[in-house]
């Protein structure tokens, strides 16, 4: 190795070993090994040398190249290792609070309604909606509640100045649906209903209700019981028990008021169920033959059941909401809990 090569080797190895970053090392790699780098410059001299010197010179330059390459690679490994070491030794306060992306909230009533319609869809029910503004005919008359029937007092009705009314129940859709189709029916009708009631923690002039009915051949009262068990177990929990008791609505016969075991205490008694263990949950019954007739369905051939419950009430029950007005006053501190 010529002194010139030796000098180069020494200086190269020195700068390489003292190089402190990957980027400066990359620069050195170009300086020495690049297309116009030192090594290539040395090799360019080869043709100028005497024939017998060329072999030894070439070998020496190659060996120098290998030394430099190795030094570069070694240093690179060292540097990247220490860079990893350094990065890895950095610390952070892991308890710093996260910065959350701004995600919104879906109203609890919408959420519960989703659960309800999902449950009905699983049971093969078609989900239909009707108009909120109804007429006397569909809201009352066809449901076996003629004018001046005392049962009209059961629902305090708002009337519009044009003679129509904001429906008092989604049952108003029963005959509308049935008279335009043919049995069998399995229909669920969610929607807003309106009652002339003073508003307080448990009463509102408008609330959300879900009506459901099924009509077909050989549909029985026991099928109503089974359907309600299937539905309410989905909505309130698998361990839910039901109590059926006699009641009266003119559009069903027999009529059954249904209570469910409180989903919070499982029937033991708590504040949600006023210590009774039971929650009154819905009204139900076998569709009155007169209603079927009004929908042009032969009650000799077909039978069916219907029931309705307050989705607003179910939301309150499920989420333990103690004041109905919270659902409609838009308070974000309430809404962000859902």
């Amino acid at each position: 190795m010529t002194p010139q090569l030796k000098d180069l080797q020494q200086s190269a190895l020195k700068v390489i070993s003292s190089s402190s970053s990957i980027s400066s090392l990359d620069a050195l790699r170009v300086t020495y090994l690049g297309r116009k780098g030192e090594i290539n410059k040395l090799l360019e001299k080869l043709p100028t040398l005497a024939q017998d010197e060329r072999g030894a010179y070439g070998t020496a330059v190659n060996s120098l190249k290998q030394d430099i390459t190795k030094a570069l690679n070694d240093r690179q490994q060292e540097l990247s290792h220490s860079a990893i070491q350094q990065s890895a030794s950095q610390t952070i306060d892991v308890t710093l609070p996260g910065l959350k992306p701004p995600i919104g909230h879906i109203h609890p009533l919408t959420q519960i309604l989703g659960e309800i319609t999902d449950a009905f869809e699983r049971m093969g029910y078609e989900i239909l909606e009707g108009n909120d503004i109804e007429n006397d005919h569909y809201n009352f008359e066809v449901l076996n509640i003629p004018k001046h029937h005392p049962a009209r007092d059961l629902q305090d009705t708002f009337w519009l100045t044009n003679g129509l009314l904001p429906r008092t129940h989604t049952s108003a859709m029963q005959v509308r649906v049935m008279e335009t189709g043919k049995p069998p029916f399995r229909v669920c009708v969610p929607g807003w209903v309106y009652r002339q009631e003073r508003e307080d923690a448990t009463h509102a002039a408008y609330f959300h209700q879900v009506e459901a009915f099924a009509v077909g051949e050989h549909i029985s009262f026991s099928d109503l019981k089974g359907t309600l068990y299937t539905l309410l177990k989905q909505l309130l929990g698998e361990e839910t028990q039901l109590k059926f008791r006699a009641s009266y609505f003119p559009y069903v016969e027999p009529c059954a008021e249904v209570s469910a075991t409180c989903p919070h205490c499982k029937g033991k008694g708590c504040t949600v169920c006023s210590q009774s263990g039971w929650i009154e949950i819905l009204g139900s019954g076998m569709i009155h033959p007169t209603v079927l007739k009004n929908a042009n369905i032969d009650p000799q051939k077909y039978s069916g059941f219907a029931f309705a419950f307050g989705s607003t009430r179910l939301a309150m029950l499920k989420y333990k909401i103690n004041d109905l007005r919270l659902l409609t006053n838009g308070n974000m501190r309430f809404l962000e809990q859902f």
Binding site: H107, D132, L154, T161, S222, C255
Partner: protein, 685 residues
């Protein structure tokens, strides 16, 4: 309604405890609300809503019959014996009573029984009676009134006593009122009568509102010695109409409006006469005048196929099971081939058809005894409801963008309408609102939504609010009763100025100005459309006379939104006037979108576009914007320069210099920077 257990026990031998009795009533008849010990009696309060069809249950005898059926115990029904009991008036009485069958209106009065009693000493009733009445919430007045009340709660038949001496010519007519007639009822109120109202009248004037309340002019006082005692069956519909029209309800009308048993007046009258003789020294001085405008008192028999009951209820009952159960509620039956022919007792005129009988069978045997089954299903699936699904999808997208869903009242009052300049619009109006803010059905979601915004800013001190409501509006239609009920999606955005918009790209995070906030807000609406896979929407300039004019929007910072040339929404800043009205800060942005159109144009499944295998070329170009030149037009123009341009974004605005970032992409090969630069040169020209 309050029930005395002592009085019930007079009619049925029942040794069950009050709680056991109450539980059974709750399950099989109506809800028991309270059980209370009062003296040596137990008072049970029941809910009477479920008894709308059961006038017989507005009496102790009726409830006793039910309890007898529930516990299968013997009921001592006094009616038959009372009805057959002979009345022996004093002969040659000077107390005449003039009433002829034709004087009793036959449309509205099915039965009318009266008798005259004299020698009465009006005074307090016996202690046991006044105590019973008091326990049941009825104020004792004097023996005559108390006896009529007592018989009513006992047997369910309302009675009324007129002071004989005050009845002109001692004549009774049951007639409808004449136009302009008035009377003062026992509560001291003057009543204007109309032609449909049934009254009891003497030869000159009305002396009672039939089946509702007696008249002041013939009231029994402590000077009364002779009375005309009345027990009748008035027609329910007319009774209810009158009671509604006069806003006057009474214990009597509560019963009559439910269609009372026409077999009841006579035995009830006789029971009252007996009590008056015993506790008022009364002497009966007339026969019972009994006018009947009915062919039969008993309801028609009902024919029920007995197999039908089992299949309708889903439980196998033998014919004799059914017969035994029905027998407990007084229904006698005989088998007729595959049917049961049922004889219905007079007090159960609500039982008309097989379904009614099925209810009785289920109720008396207990709903708990019915099995739990599911209806047979052929496995077919109903169609999905596109609207409900679409609304749910929209709500989930908005949730992802930080929006709170709000639900507010569908009503609105004059004050808020006036405040928001909506008073001039036609609204559906309620006849009978309970509060002034519930007078109309709303046709805009903005008034309540802006109220919600103000409230939240005040109460929660939030400065970063995105809320929306997706709900129905009620829009009256000319010459049509039924309104339109479209769903609208209405949203409000208030951005926190200090902390930025959450959108860290494109340098909008720091100093906000109106156009940055406008862009951020508009981006939300555009993202909603993009997420719904709606293509071909556009924002167009807005003015007072445009398709989508809306008073809540700023006149010059608002755009109309079109989907495929169909105006369907509006986006922009809050009108400065509304800002003042609701005391809100600047730079609040709103949108109002027709949900039906959104859902109709939303695509559920996007179709895949091949991904280019070569990298794009990106060039930034700054353009000096002339006055009145719209960024949207510039972007459109740049885009149309070459099919190789796949996107144009506005990345910077400095004074009127706008920098656009243009992306070039060739579907098959690499583009060179030079090719991009050449196209940019074309743009400039």
């Amino acid at each position: 309604m309050l029930l005395s257990l002592n009085l019930i026990r007079k009619f049925v031998d029942i040794d069950a405890s009050p709680q056991e009795i109450a539980d059974k009533i709750t399950l099989s008849l109506t809800e028991v609300e309270k059980i209370e010990k009062k003296g040596n009696d137990t008072v049970i309060e029941i809910e009477n809503k479920a008894l709308t069809h059961r006038p017989d249950c507005f009496s102790h005898l009726g409830i006793a019959r039910e309890i007898g059926a529930f516990f299968n115990k013997k009921v001592h029904d006094p009616l038959q014996e009372l009805a057959g009991k002979p009345i022996q008036p004093e002969v040659a009485s000077q107390f005449k009573l003039h009433i002829e069958p034709q004087d009793v209106n036959k449309d509205h009065c099915r039965r009318y029984c009266v008798a005259v009693l004299t020698n009465i000493t009006v005074g307090p009733s016996p202690k046991w009676m006044s105590e019973t009445l008091e326990n049941l919430g009825i104020r004792p007045i004097n023996n005559v009134v108390d006896i009529t009340n007592y018989v009513m709660i006992e047997l369910g038949q309302p009675l009324h006593a007129f002071d004989y001496d005050k009845v002109e010519d001692h004549a009774i007519k049951v007639r409808t009122a004449t136009a302009g007639e008035t009377m003062i009822t026992l509560d001291g109120k003057k009543r204007e009568l109309t032609r449909e109202m049934l009254v009891i009248a003497d030869s000159k004037k009305p002396i009672g509102l039939a089946g509702i309340m007696g008249g002041k002019n013939t009231e029994v006082t402590d000077k009364t010695t002779t009375i005309i005692l009345e027990a009748a069956t008035f027609e329910p519909m007319n009774n209810r109409k009158t009671s509604k029209a006069l806003r006057l309800r009474s214990e009597a009308s509560t019963r009559f409006e439910k269609n009372l048993d026409p077999a009841l007046p006579r035995p009830a009258l006789i029971r009252a006469i007996d009590l008056l003789i015993e506790y008022g020294d009364a002497k009966i001085v007339s026969d019972i005048v009994d006018v009947q405008h009915i062919n039969q008192t008993a309801p028609s028999p009902v024919l029920v196929p007995f197999n039908w009951i089992s299949s309708f209820l889903g439980k196998a009952f033998t014919p004799s099971d059914i017969q035994e159960i029905l027998n407990r509620i007084g229904i006698t039956s005989r088998r007729k081939e595959n049917n049961l022919e049922l004889t219905i007792p007079s007090w159960r005129n609500d039982l008309k058809m097989p379904a009614d009988i099925a209810e009785e069978v289920a109720r008396i045997s207990g709903y708990d005894e019915i099995p739990v089954t599911l209806p047979a299903h052929d496995g077919s699936l109903p169609p999905k409801n596109k609207d409900i699904q679409g609304r749910s999808r929209i709500k989930h997208i908005l949730q992802g963008m930080g929006f709170f869903e709000v639900i507010t009242s569908p009503f609105i009052g004059d004050e808020l309408l006036k405040k928001t300049d909506l008073a001039g619009h036609d609204h559906l109006e309620l006849q009978n609102p309970l509060t002034v803010d519930q007078k109309y059905m709303r046709r805009s979601l903005f008034p309540s939504l802006l109220t919600v915004l103000t409230n939240n800013m005040e109460r929660t001190k939030r400065e970063d609010i995105r809320i929306y409501e997706l709900n129905k509006l009620f829009v009256p239609v000319k010459d049509k009763k039924e309104p339109l009920e479209p769903y609208y999606l209405t949203g409000i955005m208030l951005w926190n100025m200090e902390h930025g918009t959450g959108n860290t790209e494109q340098g909008t995070g720091n100093k906000q100005n109106a156009s940055n906030l406008y862009r951020t807000s508009k981006g939300v609406v555009e993202s909603l459309f993009d997420q719904l896979n709606i293509s071909g929407y556009s924002f167009k300039p807005y003015s007072r006379d445009c398709d989508m004019y809306n008073p809540f929007f700023h006149p010059n910072m608002t755009a109309q939104i079109y989907i495929a040339d169909w105006p369907m929404g509006i986006f922009g800043a809050l009108h400065p006037h509304m800002q003042t009205v609701f005391a809100l800060p600047e730079n609040i942005f709103l949108f109002d979108l027709h949900v039906g159109t959104l859902i109709d144009h939303a695509k559920k499944t996007p179709s895949f576009q091949p991904i280019p295998s070569h990298p794009p070329v990106i060039e930034d170009k700054t353009i000096q914007m002339g006055k009145g030149v719209l960024a949207g037009d510039v972007i459109k123009k740049i885009t149309s320069t070459s099919p190789l341009i796949t996107s144009v974004e506005l990345v910077d605005m400095f004074e009127n210099n706008y920098t656009f970032r243009i992306t070039f992409q060739h579907p098959q090969r690499n583009l060179t920077d030079k090719e991009g630069a050449e196209i940019v040169t074309q743009i400039l020209t």
